[in-house]
Subunit: 84 residues, 2 copies
Amino acid sequence: MITTDLIGYFSAFLTTFAFVPQAYHSWKTRDLSGVSLPMYSIFSLGVLGWIVYGALIASWPIIVANSVTFVLACAVLCLKLKHR
Amino acid sequence: MITTDLIGYFSAFLTTFAFVPQAYHSWKTRDLSGVSLPMYSIFSLGVLGWIVYGALIASWPIIVANSVTFVLACAVLCLKLKHR
């Protein structure tokens, strides 16, 4: 069971922090032409939904992980809106 | 509690299917310059981890949602590897 939990936490870490290189790449290059505006709009809304869900079931791991993702996804979304 | 579950399912739906417009955009335009290779590498690995985690705790919603995301994220990753 500890191995299972570790796989869960590791997966959460990867899918959360995967957005760091995308946000950095977008910020550095200002090249957002290949980035989909609908994707980041829908994704950011979904992540916001996860934060609300985490708050409703009082799950700090869900709240914390999705808050990090939300900041990163919104950064890409804002850059896309500015440099499309 | 039903409202809470609905918010969870709706959020899962949004964060899963958000990758449809990105995969379509990448496939149609072949413009992958703004898409981060490390992001899609790390993200796909993380989603694969979620599928393993879902299998270990026998959660079909986790398995199904992440399998859809995995196919879409891998499609973007393959297009990035081909057209970078």
